[in-house]
């Protein structure tokens, strides 16, 4: 029983990290219909930027986090200007391809600037140590990840629901034409969306770096995010989080009870079954088509 609880707990905290990655992904998909394959690269850049600012530039820890998020926000904002604004209205698959090329571009940037470090040093702000709750070990790392990811998600959902920019973003998700006729600049909204998604991705990268150090493997969280987001339903913000939590828990349970390298693939097996049962994800907008 303790083992089962332990798996659930570790899975939830792992899922929290994936959830941050998925949040940005779903946000972009909702407002502009773009399947952002570059999310993993943004996460990686966030981690590297943070480490570099703290260690190479020598800024104090919290200042470097804030500066990192600001820089990533600016990068996200400028991504809308090029290459996404020219691609507005083009076939969706072409835009997916552009995001893929962007992910390669960001990997190249990371290698260019920080390539010669075999392993990038990481400044740790999460204290070491653990909590023991009813026989279940929760390391500080994972606890902080869970709390911070949860906080960011809640702040974001509040922002999305109650602020005017959030309202604009939700409107853009409904339809670009409507928003234009209301006098709101769709380009500006999409730019803000990308900026927010980059900031969230960067914070995910910073959190992940506390767990595993900074290395090019941070980009792999992008793919996990895609899986989790789709389970939860691509149209739904809270669906993304829940989907990722499910992925995290399933993964850990499989690793705990089956082992033998099935950990990575188990969520996908469940996904296929889930998709057949609930095609639009758990919370996705169901399009009812009947013949």
């Amino acid at each position: 029983m303790a083992f089962f609880l332990q798996c659930i707990f570790s899975g939830l905290t792992a899922g929290a990290v994936y959830g941050l990655a998925a949040l940005g992904f779903v946000l972009i998909y909702k407002t502009s219909g773009i399947f952002n394959l570059a999310q993993g690269a943004l996460i990686m850049m966030g981690g590297y930027l943070y480490s570099s600012l703290a260690i190479h530039v020598g800024l104090p820890l919290w200042v470097s986090i804030i500066v990192c998020l600001l820089i990533m926000g600016v990068i996200g904002y400028s991504l809308e200007w090029f290459p996404l604004r020219p691609m507005l209205g083009q076939p969706h698959l072409s835009i997916i391809m552009v995001t893929l090329a962007l992910s390669i571009f960001f990997s190249a940037v990371v290698t260019w600037i920080w390539g010669e470090f075999s392993v990038m040093p990481t400044p740790y702000f999460v204290p070491s140590g653990n909590l023991d709750i009813f026989g279940v070990v929760v390391t500080m790392n994972l606890l902080w990840s869970f709390v911070i990811a949860g906080a960011i998600t809640i702040i974001f959902i509040l922002f999305f629901q109650f602020s005017s920019i959030g309202l604009n973003m939700r409107a853009t998700a409904e339809g670009h034409q409507i928003v234009r006729s209301m006098g709101i600049s769709v380009s500006a909204i999409i730019a803000i969306t990308w900026a927010i998604a980059s900031i969230i991705g960067a914070s995910g990268g910073i959190l992940a770096s506390q767990i595993r150090g900074v290395d090019p493997g941070l980009a792999d969280y992008g793919l996990k995010a895609v899986g989790g987001a789709i389970i939860g339903g691509l149209d739904s913000i809270h669906g993304a989080i829940i989907g990722c939590l499910i992925v995290g828990v399933l993964e850990t349970l499989a690793g705990g009870y089956i082992g033998h390298g099935i950990k990575e693939v188990f969520p996908y097996i469940i996904l296929v079954i889930a998709i057949v049962i609930k095609p639009y994800g758990l919370y996705g907008l169901e399009r009812i088509e009947r013949i």
Partner: protein, 439 residues
């Protein structure tokens, strides 16, 4: 960005594409077989190519890059101080494989005509898939770290600068058994990274069991996107091992150490009342120590694969310091960064020596990869690399890297744990006992 500008860029790019054949025809051709009437004077070529395959931008970078820069530093130093090998400059061809098999293949295909020998650090898929190509091209390869068929059935001229990961585990078995005082069999858990080189020790259990150990747990940790290994660590610790042998890479190690600490596991020998000893396979440098939390890597045993320069005394230490300074100079590295793996330096020296011997034997005009494989590496006897004790290679045992030492990390420093021990060749053992590892 107007569409016209994009059009101009595209046209320029197409022109560049069309000039690719011109670029390729500029590359030097394969050294041809000599004409019957060779001139009496020795004609030295413009340069001699040495290939270097490394994962610079991919997931196993932390394992392969530190060794790689050692080779390159040595060769550049050789070019600078001695004008290369016997006056022929070395043309260093570095190919980034990013642990991606397509890049490995295309890199090898493109450049194999330009180098006479090559090295590959931690590129098991490379050895594995291209083994036939290497045999057919008669290309001698200096292979370091990893795990594949090549380590059991090496083609002629192959040299192993680093043992394969199964052999590492055999050394750990020696280390474990040396200080084992109790009467029962020691229990060992294998904690492997789920990438080809890391999975290789899956074949090691028969050897470990023959040495009187008991393999109680085998776990594979995914190396992509892993956030927590708690589930698998729990299973492992429930099996109550005395030793844990690992092939995990740095990001996985960071997570594992953190979670082990969280579980209250204390690393260290059972005799001191601790839970188990963890042995990490890929050496430590300052970068890695900066990546990990210092309080977590206490009492971890690290396999220090290269020769310790202190073993060779003052001379080795001076040479090592020289190489380190050169490295910092060539790569614009700030003063407080630690040097790359020592193994890279002496491996580079061995490769240069092999080329020199082959050139001496057949002449520079006839030098090709076949010659290096036949007359270069196998003729290395009592070769002093300037860094560590003499190296002798033979066809039966083409390993340069015969001794390992363990270091213990404690209280912020590392201390060596005893003398060098020999690395057994596990697959030779398995082969002799009639069980090659795959049918």
């Amino acid at each position: 960005m107007t569409r016209k500008l994009g059009l101009i860029y595209c046209i320029v790019f197409c022109l560049m594409l069309l000039t690719t054949p011109l670029l390729t025809s500029c590359t030097p051709q394969q050294t041809p077989t000599p004409s019957p009437a060779a001139p009496p004077t020795v004609v030295k070529p413009k340069n001699v190519g040495m290939g270097a395959f490394v994962d610079m931008t991919g997931p196993v970078r932390s394992m392969s890059y530190p060794g790689h820069v050692g080779y390159v530093t040595y060769w550049r130093w050789l070019n600078e101080t001695k004008g290369g090998i016997d006056g022929v400059p070395i043309n260093i061809i570095e190919i980034d494989t990013a642990y991606d098999i397509k890049k490995m293949r295309s890199g090898y295909d493109q450049y194999k005509s330009q180098f006479v020998t090559c090295e590959a650090q931690g590129q098991s898929p490379f050895f594995d898939s291209l083994l036939k190509n290497f045999s057919e091209d008669k290309m001698p390869v200096f292979a370091a770290i990893g795990g594949s068929d090549a380590f059991l059935y090496p083609p002629t001229g192959w040299v192993f600068g680093g043992a394969n990961t199964s052999d590492y585990f055999a050394c750990y078995a020696d280390f474990a058994l040396k200080n084992w005082k109790e009467s029962r069999k020691p229990r060992v858990a294998l904690l492997l990274g789920d990438y080809p080189g890391g999975r290789f020790p899956l074949f090691c259990p028969p050897y470990l069991e023959s040495r009187g150990m008991e393999v109680v747990s085998t776990e594979l940790l995914p190396y992509r996107g892993m956030t927590s290994a708690m589930d698998q660590l729990l299973r492992m610790t429930q099996a109550k091992p005395d030793f844990v042998f690992t092939t995990i890479i740095v990001p996985q190690l960071v997570i594992v150490l953190d979670e082990l600490k969280g579980m209250g596991i204390k690393l260290g020998p059972k005799s001191e009342g601790k839970d188990f000893e963890l042995i990490y396979s890929y050496g430590f440098d300052k970068d890695m120590m900066a990546t990990m939390r210092p309080e977590n890597w206490d009492n971890i045993v690290v396999f220090n694969g290269s020769y310790d320069f202190r073993y060779y005394g003052k001379k080795g230490y001076e040479f090592y310091t020289l190489m380190t300074d050169k490295y910092m100079e060539y790569f614009n590295v700030p003063k407080d960064r630690l040097a790359p793996s020592i193994a890279g330096f002496y491996a580079g020296a061995i490769m240069a020596e092999a080329v020199r011997l082959a050139a001496q034997k057949v002449g520079w005009d006839k030098l090709n990869s076949e010659a290096v494989g036949l007359y270069g590496y196998p003729n290395i006897k009592d070769f002093e690399t300037g860094l560590c004790p003499k190296v002798t290679l033979s066809k039966e045992d083409p390993r340069t890297h015969m001794g390992i030492m363990f270091r213990l990390f404690k209280d912020g420093t590392s201390q060596s744990l005893g003398e060098f021990s020999d690395i057994p060749w596990v697959f030779k053992w398995l082969d002799q006992h009639g069980k090659p590892y795959h049918q």
